[in-house]
Symmetry: C2
Subunit: 314 residues, 2 copies
């Protein structure tokens, strides 16, 4: 049986999975990233995981490696990653090829997740599909005519850095009013705390320690501030989605990532905004759906991209 390895490098953990040609997971696990120990060490530990967990499972024909950040897939380089301090201009492909002993492709994590969701999740069978990953950052990936769309520079799909509020709050990218600046986990928490302050109310445990998960639980328990903060976030998300629909007109946009755990507290206002903002004819054929593969989307996607690349070779 042919297997491919997916390696999804996050700021805290590296998630690994051994995936069949059909996209089924034969083994999966995670190891700490420890970015300060550098990418070579990380590659060596991924190889050690494979040696332990891949034993007897069958030959691994290729591997895909993904992380957040600007990745040049052609050259196999990671330019820079928001989660991996010091990993600048790293030849990620050749490091992992040496460590793993098989062909490797590298990809942006949001692109990998979009491809995974398209191949085996919320976008299965669709021709044009977009996937947004909401968390610390806002990542995007685009599948058009059944292929991952990277654009001419290789950096297409940076939907988190589309501007929805010119002159708005500063974004990590240096610009202002980006979708990411309006709906990142940090922005949501700041919004909730500001709403709390304006209302002159207090909530035990919110100061300094508030998370989007806590807000979601509070919303589910009927907390009006939590509901309002998530709803306003959803309305900004809806504006970002409007722009995606008016440019790309996909069949569906899947929304995943930690923040998407707030579910319909965010997605319902996003859908309502979209219905208000998108022209009726363009609206009829698009759906906003939850992503299906959770935190496995990236390693599944990047492993299937590696497999597709391996199958291209003569």
């Amino acid at each position: 049986m042919t297997l491919v390895l997916g390696v999804d490098i996050g700021g805290t953990d590296i998630k690994l999975g051994l995936v069949t040609e059909e996209g089924e997971i034969r083994a999966s696990g995670k190891i700490p990233t420890e970015p300060a120990r550098g990418p070579e060490e990380a590659a060596a530990r991924a190889a050690a995981w494979l040696a332990e967990h891949g034993r007897g499972a069958g030959p691994v024909v290729a591997a895909g490696v993904d992380c957040a950040g600007l990745i040049d897939g052609e050259c196999g380089f990671l330019h820079t990653s928001p989660n991996l301090a010091g990993w600048d201009d790293v030849p990620l492909r050749s490091l992992f090829e040496r460590a793993l002993g098989c062909p490797v492709i590298v990809e942006n994590d949001a692109n990998a997740a979009a491809y995974g969701e398209w191949a085996r999740g919320a976008g299965a069978g669709m021709r044009n599909f977009v996937c947004l990953t909401l968390g610390t950052g806002v990542g995007g990936g685009i599948v058009l005519n059944g292929a991952l769309y990277r654009g001419s520079s290789g950096f297409a799909g940076e939907i988190g850095h589309t501007v929805i509020l010119a002159g708005g709050p500063p974004c990590t990218c240096g610009n202002r009013g980006c979708l990411e600046a309006m709906i990142s986990a940090k922005a949501i928490i700041a919004r909730a705390l500001e709403m709390l302050r304006s209302a002159g109310e207090r909530r035990p445990g919110w100061d300094g320690a508030l998370t989007v998960e806590m807000l979601s639980h509070a919303a589910a328990a009927g907390d009006a501030i939590a509901v309002a903060a998530l709803a306003e976030t959803g309305r900004y998300l809806g504006i970002g989605l409007t722009n995606v629909v008016h440019i790309l007109a996909p069949e569906a946009i899947a929304v995943g990532g930690g923040v998407a755990g707030a579910g319909d507290f965010i997605l319902d206002p996003a859908r309502a905004t979209l219905r208000d903002c998108v022209m009726d004819e363009a609206m009829a054929s698009v759906r906003i759906v939850p992503a299906m593969l959770g935190n496995k989307a990236s390693f599944i996607g990047v492993s299937l991209l590696a497999l597709a690349k391996a199958n291209e070779r003569p």
Copy 2:
């Protein structure tokens, strides 16, 4: 010699062109649209123009018809057009097929212009290309992997209705803060008059009769208000272009249409904003260029789309 007819229906004129397979224009002209007389009459007059000007030029194998508005190319229907009052749910394709006696395709005018510029103008030889048409409205068309991209609904490329200022000024589409609401000819004139008022200055001839062309001439003559109004317009255009670059990463975005006649008074601030707003790696490979085909872009584009469709037929 094989010829195709392009029919570009505007609010005032219908522009017609007989185009060769190589995209060369063999004859061109215009007739008044007179929308109130209805689409059947317009088709009959287009046929009369063809009978007069096509005589002896060779067989016309197909025709393409375009106009502003929401067009369903599959079904050959115009849903609604901002320039053609009363032309709602018109079976444009069958009307023109009957009048012209050849196969007809129908297309949105901005898509047609983008395809024309890609095939024979500012986007020639590019893989991924976007064309914006600035005027009364802001139209967009997208060519990806060498084909016109329409998306799953057929309504992709509505870049004029991407939101760059959430909660901003109202747009003709019913939404707020759309790129079109910020940079349409009407928005530019309102901006200039507001700047004039704020500055406590007066300009003879501006009240009520100001046009973007007048503003461009005034800017060229050194008028500070005109320069400032066009520059602010350019900065908003730059934000709209940022979103296109971050989503699509094309090789170039061409800017055409009447408002683009203001040239570098708008394009230079747009380019500067783009350099500020787009991430460096994504910026390196994109250019903002003037469109090349002027008001012939749409009839050239739609005629070549008709030809491509005719060549698909067995």
